[in-house]
């Protein structure tokens, strides 16, 4: 494409303190304080927002049209321009980014939420699988990730010690994240599905997150150092695990390339990556696909291993990466989100701060 794109940035980010259970809160009661927080950070009122987009899942909630009740927290009156994706909120952010690129809106509110506590998320996620050949076997999400981990170990890409180190580093880093569900390193525990141990798996919990996007001068007015989205792309792979090379993530690599992550002319190197790797082994795959060297700070927030509110965890990666740019801890960051079994679908955004 030749036409100059609008500059769009993440200007604010908020999230809940993620927790194993939130029995005393409905979804909207959990979400609403986050919406208020993100608007306050940007100094906006709900009525200032040009476009609203959210991500959530009926299957997680166990109710059809569950997102309609969450809309109560937005204050959609007078009526708003609004949309919803039935997947991680990172894709809601993508839809909002496109909306801003059209010029039809200058600001967007993006939110996502997920309560895993009401159900058994390992079993719920089996309903994502091929309904004819795979779902009737109920292979749970840890089992599928363990098949991927074994393939990585067989290929010589990692071993259980290296995976444990990923777990420890993530939770150590999470000690500095006041929102994390698992702050601080802890024992790896027993095999859940070998070779993955408790420590290799994400915590199950509830949470919500929201970001505000703004275009051009509006972004500069709302945020001292906007996190400019210099590129964003997402790609999907074949569904069946048996036709994929589980040790690689070509869709992540392609999305990153299209987002400009490998741009050899980039003035500044990528210094930070927030990767949506719910399992330690998936960080190994993503580091390889994204060609991240030892000089890149990976998941300083602790990543999904420290808090994994399903349907929000990908959006949180974008928010965390942006927040580091906002506070000057990063100049160029990659943010990644995933969806589907064993990294079937992946989104990559490149975020940059203005030169200081």
């Amino acid at each position: 494409m030749t036409a100059a794109r609008r500059d769009v940035a993440i200007v604010a980010f908020a999230q809940t303190d993620h927790a194993r259970r939130t029995d005393d809160l409905s979804e909207v009661e959990m979400l609403m304080p986050v919406l208020h927080d993100v608007l306050r950070q940007a100094g906006l009122r709900a009525s200032d927002i040009g476009f609203t987009c959210s991500g959530s899942s009926d299957y997680l909630a166990g109710r059809a049209f569950s997102f309609t009740m969450a809309l109560d927290g937005v204050g959609a009156w007078p009526p708003i321009t609004e949309s919803h994706v039935e997947t991680d909120g990172a894709w809601a952010l993508y839809e909002a980014w496109v909306k801003l690129l059209t010029g039809e809106a200058d600001t967007a509110l993006v939110y996502a939420y997920g309560k895993s506590s009401p159900g058994s998320v390992r079993d719920v996620l089996t309903r994502q699988l091929d309904p004819y050949y795979v779902a009737p076997l109920w292979p749970d999400s840890v089992a599928l990730a363990a098949l991927q981990a074994r393939a990585l170990i067989d290929a010589g890409d990692t071993d259980e010690r290296a995976l444990a180190a990923v777990a420890a580093r993530s939770r150590r880093d999470a000690a500095a994240n006041p929102h994390a569900q698992l702050p601080g390193a802890r024992p790896q525990g027993d095999h859940v599905v070998a070779p993955l141990r408790t420590g290799d798996c994400p915590p199950v919990g509830d949470g919500a997150a929201a970001v505000i996007l703004a275009a051009g001068d509006r972004a500069r007015a709302l945020c001292p150092r906007p996190a400019w989205i210099t590129g964003m792309d997402h790609r999907v792979e074949a569904h069946s695990l048996g036709v994929r090379d589980l040790t690689d993530s070509p869709s992540t690599r392609l999305a990153a390339r299209r987002a400009g992550a490998f741009d050899p002319d980039a003035a500044r190197p990528v210094d930070t990556a927030e990767l949506h790797a719910p399992f330690t082994s998936q960080e190994v795959v993503l580091r390889k696909a994204l060609r991240l060297g030892a000089d890149v700070r990976v998941n300083p927030s602790g990543g999904a291993l420290a808090a994994n509110p399903v349907m929000a965890a990908g959006l949180i990666r974008l928010g965390e990466a942006a927040a580091r740019i906002h506070r000057g801890a990063s100049d160029r960051a990659l943010a990644h989100a995933t969806s589907g079994p064993c990294l079937q679908q992946n989104l990559v955004a490149v975020l940059e701060g203005d030169h200081r």
């Binding site: 809309l71 321009t81 051009g216 997402h234 589907g340």
Partner: protein
């Protein structure tokens, strides 16, 4: 809203160059879910004389995942839709989703993120049972109703009270739409022996809504190929051009909500008309495909969409204005009353509007249609999506 904040150029015009849908039926027993969506996608590609390789991205929509019992089925459908290695986005905005999905796809072209996008919506309701999917029992809530008819019937009564409409209006709509469906080979219900008397003597399910005034439950899919100016220039058949498109949402239930004529619907229509330069919709729009799952919603939406003054919508219906040979034909395809794969129903409205301005609607073609409105709504009459298409590109 101004686009003045950057050097961004005007939006890329969006053209519909391919349309495909399945023959909608109660149960497609010969195909998988993938086979169903594939059929619509393949027909849209064939219409555009395109191949999978011409498609840059796929945007897919459907209503609740519980209907088929597959969580985020787009993951499994990626292979069937040629999406492997491409971006694939899933939209869910309740009953309006078919329309919203098309608008999300259109934005990808308008923003020049992609040049050619396949958009598709489907529902295979025979995999479960819509009544079950819509009425999962939530603990602590008093079960009072099952299904959508009872939810909407009180609002129909409110409309009748407010406007003094005679109680036969709903049957006129149903009789018209079912006859129109006979001209549409893809429609689900083909009631060859339909008469007005049959509609009026059909059982009263949720008084004031009769059986024949309700939509069926269908298996079906609809797909469109959307592209930019360069793509449209290569189109083998006349494209339909998007002249305006908008979504609006309001809360499900709130103090002061007007269920008869929700403000979100009025605002959405006004936005579309503004974009398209429509100042007198009744005169300037040649055909309307509106989302009418219960017959009385035709007069209600006629008012909500600005085709009639408040309280006057039923008079258009009664006078035959919305008949296929009237001066404002509504649902020449037979509409949702004749075909309702829920998640696809909104996209079918959008696609049928595009067929009209392309002159491709076959037996239900409105002669000389140059502008047509596609309309969808969902949830508790709270989510709206609409587009206006024409036979000429937008003037910059």
């Amino acid at each position: 809203m101004s686009a003045a904040s950057t050097a961004g150029t005007a939006k890329e015009p969006v053209a519909v160059v391919g349309i495909g849908q399945t023959k909608h039926v109660a149960a497609r027993r010969d195909v998988s879910i993938a086979g169903l969506v594939r059929e619509a996608a393949r027909r849209a590609l064939d219409d555009a004389e395109s191949t999978w390789a011409d498609i840059d991205a796929v945007v897919i929509g459907k209503a609740p995942d519980f209907f088929e019992g597959v969580m985020m089925p787009e993951l499994y459908l990626a292979d069937a839709l040629g999406a492997v290695g491409k971006p694939m986005l899933r939209v869910h905005t309740a009953g309006s989703v078919g329309g919203s999905t098309a608008l999300v796809a259109a934005n990808l072209v308008a923003a020049r993120v992609h040049r050619t996008v396949l958009t598709l919506a489907f529902e295979k309701q025979s995999e479960s049972n819509a009544m079950w999917g819509l009425s999962l029992p939530v603990p602590f809530q008093q079960p009072l109703l099952a299904g959508a008819g009872g939810f909407f019937a009180p609002h129909v009564r409110a409309y009748m009270r407010r406007t003094g409409a005679p109680d036969t209006i709903g049957s006129l709509v149903a009789y018209k739409d079912r006859r129109n469906a006979l001209k549409n080979p893809y429609a689900h219900l083909h009631e060859h022996d339909i008469t007005l008397e049959k509609v009026q003597s059909s059982p009263m399910l949720w008084d004031p809504i009769r059986y024949s005034e309700t939509c069926p439950s269908s298996d079906g899919a609809c797909a469109m190929v959307l592209t930019d100016r360069a793509g449209a220039a290569r189109s083998p058949r006349p494209p339909a051009w998007m002249l305006g498109g908008a979504m609006r949402s309001e809360p499900t239930l709130f103090a002061g909500k007007d269920f008869v004529s929700p403000r979100a619907g009025r605002d959405c229509a006004a936005d579309v008309y503004r974009q398209a330069g429509i100042t007198d919709p009744r005169r300037q729009i040649d055909a309307v495909e509106m989302y009418v799952p219960f017959s009385w919603y035709e007069p209600m939406w006629l008012e909500n969409l600005g085709f009639a003054e408040e309280g006057e919508g039923w008079k258009l219906t009664e006078a035959g204005v919305t008949e296929i040979d009237g001066d404002l034909p509504v649902n020449p395809s037979g509409g949702v009353l004749s075909t309702n794969p829920i998640g696809a129903s909104g996209m079918i409205r959008f696609a049928e509007a595009a067929l009209q301005v392309r002159g491709q609607a076959g037996e239900h073609q409105i002669e000389g249609a140059r502008t047509a409105l596609g309309h969808a709504y969902g949830g508790g009459a709270q989510f709206f999506s609409m587009w206006l298409v024409g036979d000429r590109p937008p003037t910059a």
